[in-house]
Each structure stands twice: as structure tokens, then as C-alpha cells.
């Protein structure tokens, strides 16, 4: 089975990277002039590569042999019984490094090799994209430097160790709020000075053109595979699809194949933190305002003066005050629906999926599970047991055990009980 189709949709950006046009649209490129030549070079190289069957064949082969892609589409029977309709899980948690992110980094690193560059840089929040980048760099023999907020290097020490073991340099970023957005700032500062030999492996479908479209194209295999798998096995398209949205790479990777299927309802679930009526959340589309962050016009959590506000999510991978511009566009035109899911609801879904299906999801993914269960119940009530909901199970939860231990009070040897905890 071919990993991805490469077919365009009715929702593409124009050649300047605008989703919905430059006047009232989303995306574009708000970047220092010093980086424009490199972004233009990258855009041309990416167009050239995806039009080259040899490149795409190599990408497909690496994904298959090295990363375990295509991932399976799994019918979650006990979960289905619980909600009253068919629930399908696209098992990106089974990919090498445990999440969908390996698709993006292998695509971008393969392109880096094709462009003749020898070094890659990346930003990371929780460390997942950093680990994936370090993995791809090791695979291709590229130098790798990962920027990570110093707050995150402390709370994600295990992933720092993984990156070190994989041979990457990890730079703790102390500036600003010392989290993901500041890691992006620092990676951009590195890139301005190193752009002649360095590629920036951007971790999500955000940032300046061409990143939102290019990252989408390297992750769209999620949806292309899932759509074909669903049709082949069940003979129908799903009634609804769902994914979590931080920057939004797994979501746009799932959504793209279904955008032109007007009967398929599309749901993105944003990190609602303590609740969108509190200041502690990262529900950018739900509660942000139109603005410019990291090179794109999109929804931004910002104050009255346009200063970026601190975001919060229990899931470090969703803790970002912006969102990919194509999601902003899909929300604005009503093609996709974005809803917030609180920390507590996500953690409940994490425990529920673990016990119902024997799958411990990443906390990011648990937001999608929580939101999609609600959608599935609504669909079951409306259409009965034949209704189908397809969820991107974007990553596995091993990395989140520290948070889970703290949240649920797990693993205390003095409190080992016959009943499950949490």
C-alpha cells in the first residue's frame, strides 16, 4: 500500500503560503529578510522532491522499513461497545519513536540530504520532536542541535537523555518563558547565522511558508492510509474523524485526506488546561485572537498589546500559544470544528483507554480520545451502531508516566492496592 497520495485538496495555500488568500487569510510569511532566500530555496526543493517519484519511493521505503509505517487501523471493540458505535484508532503510537512525528522528521531530513546540507536544528517542547529529530539525524548521519526551554529540560530529563544517547547536542534555552515558543525563537536565531549549511526541522505544521504545507505533506500519510484502510475493511468512509491540536501536525496529517469528503465531519481537540474560562490553557483557536507568531498569521494567545501570553497544558506537546495556520483557516471557514478538552478530561481519557483497550496513550492523544468519545456518543444516538468515528492515536504514553504518576498518585509502594489507582 502506498503511504500517501499527494493529491491536492480544495483547501491548499496559494504559492505565497496563504490559506484563504492574503487579504483575510492565514499563514503567509512574516520573517526576517535574511531567512527569505533559505525559505524560498526550501520551497523549491520541497516542490521538486515531492514531484520526483524516486524521492517519494525512498521516503515510503524508509517509513516502511525503518519506522513501521503504514500504521494499522485498529477497531477498538470494547471502546465501541462503550459508546455505541464503531471506533477506529489509527495506531501512530506503534511507529518508531512512538508517535506520528517520525514521518515529518524523516521527510525533512531526507530533503536535507537532497539539498546537500550537513546539519539540522530543531526545537522541542516535551522532547518528542527533539528525539525524533535526533533519531532522523542519526539515521542520515547529520549533525543535530536541539533547542529546548530550560523549564522543559528539567521536567523532561528522560527525553534529554534519549537525545544525548542519539548523539544530538541539546541547548537549554533560558530566554523569555524558557519553554517551547522560546526554543523556536532560539532555533530561528541559530538558523539566521547557519542557514548556508543547516536545515531547520520544524516540528509542527506552523511557522512561515513553506513549513505549514510541507510538514502537512510529510505527515498526511496518516489520513491517506487511514482513509484507504477504512474503505477497504468497512466499505465506508468514517462519519467523523478526530485528532488533538497543539501546533497541529498530526491533526492536519489526518484531516488532509478527508477535507474534500464533505460528509466526513472533522474535529480537532485543543488543550483546555484548567478550563478556557481560566487564564491557564492553550486553546488557541477557541480563545486566541488573530495575530502573527513565528512567521505566520494565525490565532495567537496574546495580550492587548500583542505580547504572546503564557500558555498552559498538562501535555507539554500541546503547550503552545499559536496553532498551524491551516487549522485557523479550516476553523474560520467552518470545515473543521475545534473544541477544548481540559487537563482533567484528558487524564480521565488516558486512564479509560488504558483499561478499556490496553493502550496507554500520550496525554496529547488523550485529548483527542476524550473529545471523540463525546462525538461518538452523539453520532451513535443519531445514526446508530453503524456510525464510525476514526481517531488519530498520535502517540504512546510512556513519556508521560512521570505526569501520570503525579496526577493519579501511581507507583507508591506503600499504597499498592488490589484496586486500580486513578
Amino acid at each position: 500500500m502506498s503511504t500517501q497520495t499527494g493529491e491536492t485538496t480544495r483547501y491548499e495555500a496559494d504559492d505565497q503560503g496563504w490559506f484563504g488568500g492574503p487579504e483575510n487569510g492565514w499563514g503567509g510569511r512574516f520573517m526576517p529578510e535574511a531567512l527569505v532566500a533559505a525559505l524560498d530555496e526550501l520551497t523549491a526543493a520541497w516542490h521538486d522532491a515531492v514531484a520526483d517519484p524516486a524521492f517519494m519511493a525512498q521516503f515510503t521505503a524508509i517509513l516502511r522499513d525503518y519506522a513501521g509505517v503504514p500504521s494499522s487501523l485498529y477497531l477498538a471493540e470494547r471502546l465501541s461497545a462503550q459508546v455505541g458505535c464503531r471506533v477506529l484508532l489509527k495506531r501512530e503510537d506503534l511507529n518508531h519513536t512512538g508517535a506520528h512525528k517520525i514521518r515529518n522528521v524523516l521527510g525533512q531530513a531526507l530533503l536535507t540530504k537532497r539539498m546537500g546540507k550537513t546539519r539540522v536544528i530543531a526545537e522541542t517542547g516535551a522532547g518528542q520532536h527533539g528525539v525524533a529529530s535526533a533519531t532522523a539525524a542519526a539515521y542520515f548521519g547529520l549533525d543535530c542541535t536541539v533547542y529546548m526551554g530550560s523549564v522543559d529540560t528539567r521536567r523532561q530529563a528522560l527525553n534529554v537523555a534519549r537525545m544525548h544517547l542519539l548523539g544530538a547536542t541539546v541547548v537549554p534555552v533560558e530566554s523569555g518563558t524558557a519553554t517551547l515558543k522560546d526554543a523556536i525563537n532560539e532555533a530561528l536565531r541559530d538558523w539566521v547565522a547557519s542557514v548556508d549549511h543547516t536545515a531547520y526541522l520544524f516540528g509542527t505544521a506552523a511557522g512561515p511558508h513553506p513549513f505549514p504545507s510541507m510538514v502537512r505533506d510529510f505527515t498526511r500519510g496518516i489520513g491517506d492510509e487511514a482513509r484507504a484502510q477504512c474503505l477497504e475493511t468497512y466499505g465506508v468512509l468514517p462519519d467523523a474523524i478526530a485528532a488533538c491540536v497543539g501546533g497541529g501536525s498530526n491533526a492536519i496529517g489526518l484531516f488532509t485526506a478527508f477535507l474534500d469528503d464533505e460528509d466526513v465531519a472533522i474535529y480537532g481537540f485543543e488543550p483546555g488546561g484548567d478550563g478556557v474560562d481560566t487564564p491557564r490553557h492553550a486553546a488557541t483557536i477557541h480563545a486566541g485572537d488573530r495575530g502573527v507568531l513565528h512567521g505566520a498569521r494565525t490565532y495567537v494567545l496574546q495580550d492587548a498589546d500583542g505580547q504572546t501570553r503564557d500558555s498552559h497544558s498538562i501535555s507539554a506537546g500541546l503547550d503552545y500559544p499559536g496553532v498551524g495556520p491551516q487549522h485557523a483557516h479550516l476553523s474560520a471557514i467552518g470545515r473543521a470544528t475545534y473544541r477544548p478538552v481540559t487537563d482533567d478530561d484528558a487524564m480521565r481519557a488516558m486512564a479509560m483507554l488504558s483499561r478499556t483497550e490496553g493502550i496507554i496513550p500520550a496525554i496529547e492523544t488523550a485529548h483527542a480520545i476524550a473529545g471523540a468519545m463525546q462525538v461518538a456518543r452523539e453520532l451513535a444516538a443519531e445514526k446508530g451502531p453503524e456510525a464510525t468515528v476514526l481517531i488519530s492515536l498520535s502517540g504512546r504514553g510512556d513519556k508521560d508516566m512521570g505526569t501520570a504518576i503525579e496526577y493519579f498518585g501511581l507507583g507508591d509502594v506503600d499504597r499498592v492496592t488490589a484496586e486500580p489507582v486513578g
Binding site: 505565497q16 492574503p22 503567509g28 510569511r29 512574516f30 520573517m31 526576517p32 529578510e33 535574511a34 531567512l35 527569505v36 532566500a37 533559505a38 530566554s175 523569555g176 515558543k181 522560546d182 525563537n185 530561528l188 536565531r189 539566521v192 547565522a193 542557514v195 548556508d196 485572537d289 495575530g291 502573527v292 507568531l293 513565528h294 512567521g295 495567537v300 496574546q302 492587548a304 498589546d305 500583542g306 505580547q307 504572546t308
Partner: protein, 272 residues
């Protein structure tokens, strides 16, 4: 009508020298202290003043300007304080521009920002993360309010982009001397002179002779003299910020250091 930066460059050109362009973020060390500092720079020889608008995500700035901007934001500086600072500095008669990342302007409202900047006596904007091809709204607002539009060119810019950028500028064009972020460096860049030559060659199709200012990495009079030998303007930021950062508890000493640095640079732009 406000002073455009052209008056600052013309004055220098009439003296047979380069113009000295000095930068500090507004609200650093606080709003009043920032105004005092910028006025000291005017007194000691700056021909054009850049007032920085502190921003939470300054991707083109190195550690020195980041630290000053962060300090200003932590003390609660607002966009209105930036305009207040412009008003106080422009009142000296020295052309005063704002250097700002784009989101705060968009958030304020582009036409409203242009109107309020003009009524504060500001000459225009330098936009480090906004290139002319992404700037139709700003260009329209600037033209409506007779403001200077200062865009950047870089060593990596193609000839086509330099021609496009210089065609969109009014006041001067900001040539970044290095591939990198702001911050004083010990040696001047060998990329700067060829970039200035290329920029001049490509911008001569315009009606006016657009001045070329060189910034990034300039920190002392000797470097200023070297750049003044081939450019119309020498732009200094981080070194001024450093002079104040080095005297956190003694404003008088900070102002003295600022004045001494300005005088050194002013000698530099006069050929050392």
C-alpha cells in the same frame, strides 16, 4: 510635518560623513529613564534615533537586546509608552523611528498605529520581520500618514529581492552586516561592504538616492569609521544597551557611559 529620517541623512551628507543611528528599547531601564538615555544620545551626536518596541518573541535579537526588552516588559511597558517615548525624543528635532516586530502593530491596528505614530512626531518604522511583499497594509498606512518605511536587506538577499525591497523603502534601507542576530561583535563583517555596493547598484532605478545604513555588530568608533567609509549610515543598538546594562544601580554612570560611547561613535562616522 514630521522630520523624516532623510533630514538626518542629508545633514550628515552635507557634512561629508555618515549618519549615526542609535537604538534603545523603550521602557529600559524604565520609561522615564529610557527617554533620558535617548536624549543623551541625541545630545552626544546621534543623527537618527530608533526606539525599540519591546516584544515577547524577538527572533532577530541577541542576548543583550533580549535582556533589555524582557526587563522593560517585566516592568509593564506598553505600546502607548513606546509612542510616549517617541514623542519625547522627536521633540528634540532629531528624526525618530520605531523598530518593531510586526504583531504588536497588527494588534494595535495598523492604520491606528500609523496615525498615532505620526501624531507623536515619529518619522516611520523599521520592521525586522516584515518584508515589503508581506506589507501591503503597512505600506498603505505609512503612505497615508507620510511615514518612512525602512525594510531590511541581508547578505543572503537575491538581487531581485534587493531591488524589490529598496523600491519599497522610504528614508533609508537597513543593510544587515552579518548573517545573524543583533549584538556587538569584535570584528566588522566582510559581508557588509559588498552588500552595500550591491544595494546601491540595484536601487539606482529610483527617483531618489536612497541612503544605505549598516547595522548588526557595530560597537565602537573604529568599527563605525570603517563602515562610514562605504555606507551612508552606521546603526548601533546592542552596544548602547550594554552601556546601560553594565550600570544597573547607577543611572548617572550609565548615562555617562552612553554619552562616551555616542561621542566615540560620532567621531567614528566622521572618519575617526
Amino acid at each position: 510635518m514630521n522630520a523624516t529620517v532623510t533630514t538626518g541623512f542629508e545633514k550628515a551628507r552635507a557634512d561629508g560623513r555618515a549618519a549615526l543611528v542609535g537604538y534603545l528599547p523603550a521602557g529600559f531601564p524604565d520609561v522615564a529613564g529610557g527617554i533620558d538615555a535617548l536624549r543623551a544620545m541625541v545630545d552626544a551626536g546621534c543623527d537618527v534615533i530608533e526606539v525599540g518596541l519591546p516584544y515577547s518573541d524577538p527572533v532577530m535579537d541577541g542576548p543583550t537586546i533580549q535582556a533589555a526588552a524582557q526587563q522593560a516588559l517585566e516592568r509593564g511597558v506598553r505600546t502607548a509608552d513606546v509612542l510616549r517615548t517617541v514623542e519625547a525624543v522627536a521633540a528634540t528635532g532629531t528624526p525618530t523611528v520605531v523598530m518593531t516586530y510586526w504583531n504588536p502593530v497588527e494588534r494595535y491596528g495598523v492604520p491606528r498605529f500609523a496615525a498615532d505614530l505620526a501624531s507623536a512626531g515619529g518619522a516611520g518604522l523599521i520592521t525586522p520581520d516584515l518584508t515589503p511583499d508581506s506589507a501591503p497594509e503597512w505600506i498603505a498606512a505609512a503612505d497615508a500618514h507620510d511615514l518612512d518605511k525602512i525594510f531590511l536587506v541581508a547578505p543572503s538577499s537575491t538581487d531581485e529581492r534587493i531591488a524589490m525591497t529598496t523600491a519599497a523603502c522610504r528614508g533609508f534601507v537597513y543593510a544587515t552586516a552579518v548573517m545573524g542576530v543583533t549584538g556587538a561583535r569584535s570584528t566588522t563583517s566582510e559581508l557588509a561592504a559588498p552588500l552595500v555596493a550591491r544595494t546601491r547598484a540595484l536601487s539606482q532605478n529610483g527617483l531618489v538616492d536612497l541612503p544605505v545604513g549598516v547595522g548588526l555588530g557595530v560597537g565602537n568608533g573604529a568599527q563605525a569609521a570603517e563602515i562610514a567609509s562605504y555606507a551612508d549610515g552606521v546603526i548601533v543598538g546592542s552596544a548602547f544597551v550594554r552601556a546601560l546594562l553594565d550600570h544597573p544601580d547607577d543611572r548617572t554612570a550609565g548615562l555617562r557611559a552612553l554619552r562616551a560611547l555616542t561621542e566615540d561613535l560620532a567621531r567614528g562616522v566622521r572618519g575617526g
